[in-house]
Structures are given as structure tokens and as C-alpha cells.
């Protein structure tokens, strides 16, 4: 087995950026509420305005687009030139799936078996085509599986009400029971914490939504699927990922896998998030790559590097180390 590599700085940078965008998403979620007088929080639609799938399907179905949605053209432009970075660095639902994948604690052998590219990853492209076909004929149902819609809707109707209820009842119980030793009581600590939570995180009144059980169940299922395959949603389902994959399949940022330096240890498959690596050295699927750079970080022989360039010509035979 190769020596344990230190996680590269590029990977830490990526994790930082992901964290910022996930926190921004959650912050905007909490801001999506009443502010005096009659104001919703500022910029709460930001992520939806960056979403080219929502823009495209709405445009196909209604032949009109809300002005703010044109921001998503920036996402398309960046993806066209640089590839699917959006999935790996920005998408908050991707980051959540990324986190849950990390939590599964799979063993190295299982990681090697499930990390590489698989044919079922094409499923998301067909999902996209179903929605585009429908949108072309006036039915815009992409919101069912649009990642921001899926995440925000689940948060609103299922996750947040559950968390709000659980936290409120926990602190309510602490307040009522108020356990402690002698004069030292739990409420001395719990009440100030509760006050902070109440002011910044909890709902004014416990929310209840019709249909929360089904939506919550589907959300839980998507999260659980990360135990079956890394970032299952992103690899197999996400129609936005599929759209960005098609647009970004010919990026100018390239992962160069040197066939000479490769010792065929296949560690690059272990932590690959998108399933972009194939066991063949020198080969790489740009449409599936999230640019997480885990492979580069994991590679014991430093055979993988990042560089600018164009796709190698199709007639060139890619060297394969066996």
C-alpha cells in the first residue's frame, strides 16, 4: 500500500469554499422569513437565480424568463469553459451529499469498488431529457428533482420543522425538569443557549406543512443513498448536474493523468466524488468530474496534475498502463 498522503491545500481550499456556500444557503434559508415591515430577507432567491436548469425549463415551457434568472447564464458560461466546478465547489446540496458520503466511513476496499465510473451515471442525462421534453411541450416539472428546489423544499417543509420541534422540546424539558446539583442548575446554561437559538435560528411559531412526511422521506432516502454510492444524487439523479455535465464536457482546465508515473494502484478511484475516473490510467471523464481534486491529493506517485489545455485529439491513442 502506498504511503498515506497529506490532504492537499487545493482540497482544503475546495472544502472551505463548499462550506461557505452551504452556510450561505442555510443563512438565506433562515432569512426567508418576515422582516419588519413586510420584507423578506435580501437575496434569498440567489441560488435559484444561479440555476440554469430552472431558467431553461421555465423558458422552454413559458417562453419567458424572470430577469433575475439570467444570472444563471454566468453559471453556464463558467461551466462551458471550465467544466462542472459548480457541482464540486458551489452547489450546497452537493456539499451536503459530499458530507454524508464522508460520514459513511467506508473501508478502502469498498471505496475502490464504488468510486469509479459506472454506466448508470448516464441515468441523470435521461432524467434531464425527460424534463426538457416535457418543458418543450409546456410542462415544467424539473422542480421535482432540481437540487436547489429539492433541498429548499425539504428544508422548509420537513427538516426545519422537525429540528425546530426537537430543539424547542429539548429546552422546554430542560426548563421544566431543571436537573442539577445543589444550587448549580442546568437552566443557568441552557436558558442563555435557548435564547440565542430562539433569536437567530428557531421559528417564531412551530411550522407545520401538509405533505411533510413524503417530502421528508424522500429527502432522507436521498441522504441515505450516499451509503450506496458516493454522492449518489449527484452521480445518478441530478438533472442540473447532467445539464452542467453536457455543457462542461470539454473544459479547458484538465486533469492530466500521467501514464508514465501511474503505478496502477487505483487510489484515484477511492475518493472520487463524481465517478469521473476510470481504472484505466490516463483516462478521465470531464462530464462527471466535480474538480474536487481528491484523486490528485490521494495519488501516491503524483501522477495526476491540473493544467490548462484542450482535449487531446480523438485520433491520439491514450496510453494505458496495465
Amino acid at each position: 500500500m502506498a504511503r498515506k498522503q497529506r490532504t492537499s491545500r487545493l482540497v482544503w481550499l475546495r472544502r472551505g469554499v463548499q462550506g461557505v456556500f452551504l452556510l450561505l444557503f442555510l443563512y438565506l434559508f433562515l432569512e426567508t422569513e418576515y422582516h419588519p415591515i413586510n420584507l423578506a430577507g435580501a437575496h434569498v432567491k440567489l441560488f435559484f437565480q444561479l440555476d440554469p436548469l430552472a431558467m431553461l425549463t421555465a423558458w422552454l415551457a413559458s417562453h419567458a424568463v424572470a430577469a433575475g434568472m439570467l444570472l444563471s447564464l454566468a453559471t453556464l458560461a463558467v461551466t462551458l469553459v471550465f467544466g462542472r466546478w459548480f457541482c464540486g465547489w458551489i452547489c450546497p446540496f452537493g456539499t451536503l451529499n459530499n458530507l454524508c458520503t464522508s460520514l459513511r466511513g467506508a473501508r478502502a476496499k469498498a471505496k475502490l469498488e464504488t468510486g469509479g465510473y459506472g454506466g448508470w451515471q448516464k441515468a441523470k442525462y435521461y432524467v434531464l431529457v425527460v424534463f426538457l421534453g416535457g418543458a418543450l411541450f409546456g410542462v415544467n416539472a424539473a422542480g421535482w428533482l432540481d437540487p436547489f428546489s429539492f433541498f429548499f423544499r425539504s428544508m422548509t417543509t420537513a427538516v426545519y420543522p422537525v429540528l425546530n420541534d426537537a430543539v424547542s422540546s429539548l429546552f422546554g424539558w430542560l426548563y421544566d425538569a431543571n436537573p442539577g446539583i445543589g444550587p448549580v442548575r442546568v437552566t443557568a446554561v441552557s436558558e442563555p443557549i435557548y435564547e440565542i437559538l430562539r433569536r437567530h435560528f428557531l421559528a417564531v411559531e412551530q411550522p407545520h406543512y401538509v405533505g411533510n412526511v413524503l417530502i421528508g422521506f424522500l429527502f432522507g432516502a436521498v441522504i441515505a443513498l450516499n451509503f450506496v454510492r458516493p454522492r449518489f444524487w449527484c452521480r445518478y439523479i441530478c438533472p442540473l448536474g447532467a445539464l452542467l455535465g453536457i455543457i462542461g464536457k470539454n473544459p479547458v482546465v484538465r486533469l492530466n493523468k500521467s501514464a508514465e508515473a501511474c503505478n496502477n494502484c487505483r487510489l484515484c478511484l477511492a475518493d472520487c466524488q463524481g465517478g469521473a475516473n476510470t481504472p484505466d490510467a490516463g483516462q478521465w471523464k470531464p462530464a462527471e468530474c466535480f474538480y474536487c481534486f481528491n484523486c490528485r491529493s490521494d495519488c501516491p506517485t503524483e501522477a495526476i496534475s491540473v493544467g490548462f489545455g484542450t482535449q487531446p485529439d480523438s485520433h491520439e491513442k491514450t496510453a494505458v498502463v496495465k
Binding site: 421555465a58 425527460v130 411541450f137 482535449q311
Partner: protein, 244 residues
């Protein structure tokens, strides 16, 4: 400079084997056909092209006409999150399967607050268009109606004016007619029986929410007369109630 750009463009036209998506043409056609087929199934549903209207489908104020609304709504839940009364919910089948998880008002849980336009502010796709408070207060999202078998002054000869007290329109959309009724004890009493003025009612549903009869309130709101769908009117060939 031209060389790399040319090679980049060539990468789209003729990508190397390893970078191809390898999608099967047959499956792509099948997927597209499935989407189109589903679209036509949805269209031919009675609710699809406004062949009929679901009285329980009360949309937030600012919602576009149903067909246009469905073509834009991305079911994100922003309006549901921001609604201060918890009145907006993800639809089950109120708008057909096509409308699954689109916003629908449930007046027994919340209602449409008269001074509020938050849902119209947060909609990212414009399925709910932005309204000023003054505009919103003129938009009819539905119309209230009474269930005289449940309403206290009608059914039980008891006094109750809760709905009228909560009615937010400047001139109350709920008005009373005094009626002499008989109590179960045989006593003749005069009670105020509530009526709805369809010109004034905007369907906000606060009467439903505050009605003392819980579960199935004695006053309900249906989508009839909603501003966004002129054909879903009270009178034939009208642009809303009474010609609008």
C-alpha cells in the same frame, strides 16, 4: 491563440472516446418521448388546460393564470417558508400530478395576511409576480362561502360574529342580515346571520382560519372568482365576479 481555440471547439464536435457521454440515441429519444407523452397526459387531465377548476386550489396572491403558473413554478418552497401564517403548503394533487408540490393555501392552517406581500417578493421564477401591498389587496385569490349547516347563527340559533370581526377589507366583505330564529328550547331570538359580499371578498381566508368551528369550519374559501383565472368566475363570460 487561434490553434487552441480551434482545438477547444473541435473538442465539442469530435471528443475523444474517453470523454464521450456515450448516451444511447434510442434511450435519448425514448426519454424525450416520455417527457412529451407525460406533458400531453397532463394537458388532457381535466385541470390541465382549464377544462375545469379545482375549488380547493387557492394559489398565493400574484400567482399567474394556472397554465402559465405551472410552466414557471419550480416548486422550491420559498413562498412556503416565507409565509408568516404558515398558510402556503406543497400541493398534493390539488392541481393534478403535474402540480405536485406547487404552492396552495390551506386556510385551516394559515391564511393570507392582508398587509403582507412576502411570497410575491421571494418567488425566483416569477410564477408569483411581485405585488405592492396596494395591488395585493385588490387581488382576489378566491371567495368565501358559508356552510349554513355548521355556522352557529344559522344552524344553532347562537350569536357569533367572529368571521366578520376578522375580515380585513376596508369595507367588510362579510355583512349581516338579522333574522328571527327559534332556539331548541322554542324561544324566538334575533341573530345576525353572516353573508359574503362577492364584490368585496378577496378570499384571504382569515374567516376560515378564525372560525370557531374547527376541523371543517362553517366558512370556507373556494378558488371561484380568482383574479388570475378570469374564466373561473362566478358569472358566465365574465372577467371575474360580476364582469370585473
Amino acid at each position: 491563440m487561434i490553434g487552441p481555440i480551434f482545438r477547444w471547439i473541435k473538442g465539442f464536435v469530435k471528443p475523444p472516446q474517453s470523454a464521450r457521454l456515450d448516451l444511447s440515441r434510442r434511450q435519448l429519444l425514448a426519454s424525450g418521448a416520455a417527457g412529451i407523452g407525460a406533458a400531453y397526459l397532463f394537458h388532457t387531465h381535466p385541470l390541465g388546460r382549464q377544462r375545469s377548476y379545482n375549488p380547493d386550489l387557492v394559489r398565493p396572491p400574484g400567482a399567474l393564470a394556472e397554465e402559465e403558473f405551472l410552466s414557471k413554478c419550480t416548486r422550491c418552497g420559498e413562498c412556503m417558508k416565507v409565509c408568516p401564517t404558515n398558510g402556503i403548503h406543497p400541493a398534493a394533487f390539488e392541481a393534478g400530478l403535474e402540480g405536485l408540490w406547487t404552492p396552495v393555501l390551506k386556510m385551516t392552517i394559515g391564511y393570507c395576511e392582508y398587509e403582507c406581500t412576502l411570497c410575491t417578493q421571494v418567488c425566483p421564477t416569477g410564477a408569483i409576480r411581485a405585488l405592492t401591498v396596494a395591488e395585493k389587496q385588490r387581488v382576489k385569490i378566491g371567495l368565501a362561502y358559508f356552510d349554513r349547516n355548521r355556522c352557529l347563527p344559522y344552524a344553532y340559533a347562537r350569536t357569533c360574529i367572529v368571521c366578520e370581526e376578522h375580515c380585513p377589507t376596508p369595507k367588510k366583505a362579510i355583512w349581516f342580515e338579522e333574522a328571527q330564529v327559534t332556539t331548541p328550547a322554542g324561544e324566538k331570538v334575533t341573530v345576525k346571520q353572516p353573508r359574503v359580499d362577492p364584490e368585496l371578498c378577496i378570499g384571504c381566508g382569515i374567516c376560515v382560519n378564525k372560525c370557531v368551528i374547527k376541523g371543517q369550519p362553517a366558512v370556507l374559501v373556494s378558488s371561484v372568482g380568482e383574479s388570475r383565472n378570469p374564466a373561473n368566475g362566478l358569472l358566465l363570460n365574465s372577467g371575474g365576479p360580476y364582469g370585473g
